[in-house]
């Protein structure tokens, strides 16, 4: 249900939980059908249901071993303005499909997300704050390790049922018209071996020289389950050429 292009995301990278459990940047990217309906709700809540059915072949998450191996995604979004300047966006997601071990092996994904926006309307071009968190569970059947002699199993695959969990929480504060700073904490088990856990954190600073350019610097620390630490620095320069339609909220 990600409706945003990479260039408008607040971070250079995707959180560990997105990389480890839901297919990273590509995610569940497949051919299929989608249905969306706004559900009448009381007290000015905006309630929206999206249901999707796919061919079942999104390389990083699901694998379709035969034509009936469809995957499905369901998402309920609940949104409410708290004040003129702030709002709360909540979501619950579920997805199911077949994994790379074959038709008999199912992967279930459960997710919860929450976003709090603050933007004083009269100074909206100068100040804003976004706090966001996503929590994801991934459960899947896996065969015994003997199967890995015939299937290309991912590194560190464990045998049997895996219950992996991960989350991130981030805060991003726009403190001037052209500047925004953010921090994020990450933690995620590995999908194919839930006993292995990666964790880390990031800081980011973004500067907009104009509407058509963006410079971002991000520092990322990651402690991988393999017992090594990574300290990484990224710099990104973006140019926009030509017109671009408005993004949804």
């Amino acid at each position: 249900m990600n409706t945003l292009h990479n260039h408008v995301l607040l971070w250079l990278d995707r959180p560990l939980v997105t990389q480890n459990l839901v297919g990273g940047e590509d995610g569940i990217d497949d051919a299929g059908a989608s249905f969306e309906h706004i559900i009448p709700a009381p007290r000015n809540w905006f309630l929206d249901f999206t249901g999707q059915a796919f061919r079942g072949d999104s390389a990083d998450v699901y694998t379709s071993s035969n034509k009936n191996d469809l995957s499905v995604v369901g998402h309920v979004r609940a949104y409410r303005d708290l004040t003129d300047n702030s709002n709360l966006d909540l979501g619950v997601s579920y997805s199911r499909g077949h994994n790379l071990f074959g038709t008999d092996f199912i992967t279930n994904l459960y997710g919860i997300d929450a976003t709090y926006h603050w933007k004083p309307l009269q100074r909206s071009i100068y100040k804003s704050f976004i706090a966001r968190s996503e929590i994801i569970w991934r459960q899947q059947n896996q065969p015994s390790l003997a199967a890995c002699q015939t299937i290309a199993c991912p590194v560190d695959t464990a045998a049997g049922f895996q219950r992996a969990f991960g989350f991130y929480a981030s805060g991003d504060y726009q403190f001037a018209r052209r500047w925004i700073a953010g921090a994020r904490v990450d933690r995620s088990d590995r999908a194919f071996n839930a006993h292995l856990n990666d964790q880390g954190g990031s800081f980011i600073l973004t500067y907009w020289p104009s509407e058509f350019a963006q410079i971002r610097g991000q520092y990322r620390f990651t402690r991988y389950a393999d017992k090594f630490d990574a300290n990484e620095a990224f710099i990104q320069l973006q140019f926009a050429l030509g017109a671009h339609g408005a993004h949804p909220f």
Binding site: Y79, L121, E211, G245, A246, P248
Partner: protein, 311 residues
């Protein structure tokens, strides 16, 4: 087991009813949504108690930068009529809302989509090629046209015609209210012209190019802008040049919208001995501006006081 199966079926049926039942009987009044509060006020003037009208943006908000929040979809999805400023003023936020609303009535070219700019006199229409190097130039002309009472009159007439088409049984009511609005506006204009008459031809500076229609109507001369180009924040070199020009031309008034930072205008005012006037570009910018008439009362009141103080 059978009981549980029946229970599941019953719950599924209930869910379908909740999901797919249309809202209860349509209300009698036309539901109108406008992008800005000024259009709300004009619609209310004409539609009276036969319309339910509400705006998406607030009067103190920069209309170029409005978040397309899902709460707006709740307003749009049952609207009979959407009235917008047009000229690409809302291009950064309105198109996804219209698409996501799932409301066929208000899609572009549908009968419930009304672009108010078609009724107004539009100024500053760029000639020749338009480039982003010139800033946020609106290729179809300056969209801040509602700050001219003549345009207010034309828009009200256009809205009355549209409401009459959509609700022919109340045509006479809408036309009578529109004529009444014109009368009251003509009276108010006489008063505003008297108030502004001593200051015709006076030079002013504005932050953004929001003021051309107002300036033309009341005979003011806008000689510069705090923004070096539309939508581009002030730069030191431009501020320096503008300050010198204001000193040279003896310009003392700087008009600033409520959503812009006052730091640069205040600094220029200190340098030039001028005053910063934080005018309201829209109805609802402050509590006391509750309609189109009060918008001009408020801004003209501020402006005449500022002219008197700097004479």
């Amino acid at each position: 087991m059978m009981l549980s199966k029946n229970l599941c079926l019953a719950l599924a049926a209930l869910l379908c009813v909740v999901l797919f039942t249309p809202p209860t009987a349509a209300a009698k009044n036309l539901k109108v949504v406008t992008t800005l509060t000024d259009l709300t006020s004009l619609t209310q003037e004409v539609g009276g108690d036969k319309v339910d009208v509400e705006a998406l943006a607030k009067g103190y908000q920069d209309p170029h930068f409005v978040d397309p929040k899902p709460s707006f979809l709740l307003k749009l999805r049952h609207a009979d009529l959407l009235i917008l400023v047009g000229l690409d003023l809302e291009i950064g936020w309105l198109p996804p809302l219209i698409t996501q609303s799932g409301n066929g009535n208000i899609q572009p070219a549908a009968s419930g989509y009304l672009d108010a700019s078609q009724f107004a006199e539009i100024l500053e229409i760029p000639q020749g090629a338009v480039s982003r190097a010139e800033g946020d130039v609106h290729p179809l002309g300056n969209p801040h046209y509602w700050l001219d009472p003549d345009n207010g009159r034309r828009i009200a007439k256009g809205i009355a015609t549209k409401l009459s088409e959509m609700d022919p049984t109340d045509r006479a009511y809408f036309q009578q209210r529109e004529q009444d609005f014109e009368k009251r506006l003509a009276e108010a204009e006489k008063k505003w012209q008297v108030q502004m008459a001593p200051y015709r031809g006076r030079k002013i500076v504005t932050y953004h190019r929001s003021w051309p229609n107002f300036a033309k109507h009341f005979g003011l001369d806008v000689i510069g802008y705090i923004e070096p180009r539309p939508g581009i924040p002030p730069t030191p070199s431009h501020t320096f040049e503008l300050t010198n020009m204001m000193k040279r031309e003896h310009v003392k008034i700087i008009m600033v919208e409520p959503y812009f930072d006052r730091k640069t205008p205040d600094s220029i005012a200190r340098e030039t001995g001028g005053v910063v006037v934080e005018y309201m570009p829209s109805v609802g910018g402050v509590k006391e501006i509750t309609n189109y008439f009060q918008l001009f009362d408020y801004d003209i009141g501020l402006l005449t006081k500022a002219f008197q103080a700097t004479q």
